[in-house]
């Protein structure tokens, strides 16, 4: 599988990742190399094999429904780029 620069641009947009136009080519090459390396998986017969999402066959543990957290807004917002009146600010969202 190889990727062209257009595909790189499309994926970069999906990932909201700024990639300079000048870099599209080298990413396309790198990514194509990686993908063709990955393509050896296609040679494996995996019919009927259950995908393994977790290393251990465990099930989800449940937390009791209790409020355990207190307000730490001040502390959390100290590391925020832009806040006002307790809100995180972002450029205007247009619905």
């Amino acid at each position: 599988m190889s990727l062209d620069t257009e595909a790189v641009a499309r994926i970069a947009h999906l990932a909201r990742l700024g990639v300079d136009d000048s870099e599209h080519e080298s990413y396309a090459r790198n990514l194509s190399d990686i993908l063709s390396f990955i393509d050896q998986l296609n040679a494996v017969d995996t019919q009927g094999i259950e995908p393994m999402a977790h290393p251990l066959d465990a099930s989800q543990r449940l937390r009791p429904d209790e409020v355990t957290e207190t307000d730490q807004r001040e502390k959390f917002q100290k590391v925020a780029p832009s806040v006002e009146a307790g809100l995180y600010l972002v450029p205007k969202v247009i619905e």
Binding site: L14, R16, A53, H54, A58, S59, Q60, R61, L62, R63, P64, D65, E66, V67, T68, E69, D71, Q72, R73, F76, Q77, S82, E84, A85, G86, L87, Y88, L89, V90, P91, K92, V93, I94, E95
Partner: protein, 477 residues
């Protein structure tokens, strides 16, 4: 051409837990912005989700109440997209393996028949935060208090055929989640909202038409209006030679129209995959049986029982069981009224309901308790007061003047049933109106009403009307 409407609803019910679905932050409504958004809700680097046990039990309850399968194994997945109210850049939801699937609910149609609506699935997910568009130097403010609030998304089959049916279905789900005590159903606060998938097709065609999804409708009235608007719009488009585009639309209640949400139109590719931070949710049969034991009597069953136990019509029983609070109020009233089901039903759905409607109040805010109301109905049925006087007593009770007995006593409203006393009053009335007596005897029998009125006036309405009629007729012979 005759068109058939096809509607499926996706209802988001906020589950009534104390803490969030994946964190220990409070879900209480109305807090200062971001004071209930903990490190996990904010998606700070390094944090991890842990599932709230409460939501699993609630989802299981819903599953059992809708004849659905409660999945022995369900999986949380990440739905990836960027939006400022979505802190992690993905929403934790369920995709391939939801916790509840394949159930149904019966709704009552206007013609008295019922229609079975399939429930495709109900899955658990986290809510997003809120964007506030007030002006912060041209910026948008983000409040993440709501982020991580547990939601049950209930997806119906495309089995609904009109806006009215959609509303009936939504109301039924609304009643159900409140019966189950898993959602407060508060639509103003966004605890219960829905998206509607609407399409049309020529009558008789099997294939579905292209659908539009109307997002985030938060009242029963708007659901009906939005869907009806959308149906008209689609018919206009097709009959005008166009084609319906698959898209997301927003209902604008002020303008009463739906419009395309262009900003979200770009093809979304959510890249779902199993969330590696969470493990499969395994539900054992014993757990399901334990949940089953906690189920309350559900609306359909209750409705049936009301028709049998109280001799109510299906429509009346349906109305009284439309909410758990109302049904409970009614039953407590019946109890206090010595088992007078029909009379209780008439008063709860009549006087009381009219009063509440006028004041814009809910049954839980009723100014009279079921015990008070039942106590008064007892006095009607034992003949102490007439139905007419009862209205006066009811009004006094609503004004907080005490219970029925003390009001009757204090205001001397007790009905006069002693025939001797009534006879005496009638005599006085007849004596005072010789001309009318003569006319009556001359054949103008409709004057009977005049005499009854006079007697009632003289007794301030306290005379038993049946007795008055009977005695009057005897005395006018």
């Amino acid at each position: 051409m005759e068109w058939e409407v096809v509607i499926g609803l996706e209802i988001h019910a906020q589950l009534a837990t104390r803490s969030k679905i994946f964190s220990g932050a409070s879900t209480a409504y109305g807090a200062e912005p971001n004071t209930q958004a903990c490190a996990v809700d904010l998606g700070l680097p390094g944090v991890l989700p842990v599932l709230n046990a409460g939501v699993v039990g609630m989802a299981a309850k819903f599953g059992l109440a809708t004849h659905s399968t409660v999945a022995p194994r369900s999986v949380f997945a990440r739905k990836n997209y960027f939006y400022p109210d979505l802190p992690k850049g993905y929403q934790i939801s369920q995709f391939e393996l939801p916790i509840v699937h394949d159930g149904y609910l019966d709704i009552d149609l206007e013609d008295g028949s019922t229609r079975r609506i399939g429930i495709t699935r109900a899955h658990l997910e986290e809510d997003a935060g809120k964007s506030l568009h007030e002006d912060f130097q041209g910026m948008t403010g983000i409040d993440l208090n709501r982020a991580g609030t547990p939601l049950l998304e209930i997806v119906s089959e495309p089995d609904l055929r009109s806006a009215k049916q959609a509303v009936a279905y939504m109301k039924k789900i609304h009643a159900l989640v409140r019966y189950l005590d898993i959602c407060d159903g508060n639509m103003q606060e966004g605890s219960f909202r829905c998206d509607a998938n609407v399409s049309i097709r020529p009558k008789g065609q099997e294939e579905f038409g292209t659908r539009a999804e109307i997002k985030n409708i938060n009242s029963f009235r708007f659901v009906e209006r939005a869907i009806n608007y959308e149906i008209e719009r689609q018919i206009d488009v097709i009959e005008g030679g166009g084609t319906v585009v698959q898209e997301t639309r927003l209902y604008d209640a002020d303008k009463d129209e739906t419009r395309s949400m262009r900003s979200k139109e770009e093809a979304n590719d959510y890249r779902y995959f199993p969330d590696p931070d969470l493990l499969p949710v395994v539900i054992e049969p014993e757990f399901i049986e334990a949940v089953r034991k906690t189920l309350p009597e559900l609306p359909d069953r209750k409705c049936e029982r009301f028709t049998q136990d109280y001799g109510l019509s299906h429509a009346d029983a349906g109305a009284l069981t439309s909410s758990r609070e109302l049904a409970d109020f009614f039953e407590q009233t019946v109890k206090a009224a010595g088992g007078e089901g029909k009379l209780s039903a008439n008063w709860v759905m009549g006087e009381l309901s009219a009063l509440l409607n006028k004041a814009g109040k809910d049954i839980s805010e009723s100014p009279v308790s079921p015990e008070q109301l039942g106590g008064m109905l007892l006095r009607i049925s034992d003949g102490t007061i007439s139905g007419k006087i009862a209205k006066q007593v009811f009004e006094a009770m609503c004004n907080g003047e005490g219970d029925a007995d003390s009001i009757i006593e204090k205001q001397g409203l007790k009905q006069i049933t002693d025939s001797g006393a009534i006879e005496k009053i009638i005599r006085e009335v007849l004596d005072a109106n010789p001309k009318q007596v003569e006319q009556y005897k001359g054949g103008q029998e409709k004057l009977l009403g005049f005499f009854v009125g006079q007697v009632m006036k003289a007794t301030q309405g306290k005379a038993n009307p049946g007795e008055v009629n009977k005695i009057l007729k005897q005395m006018l012979v």
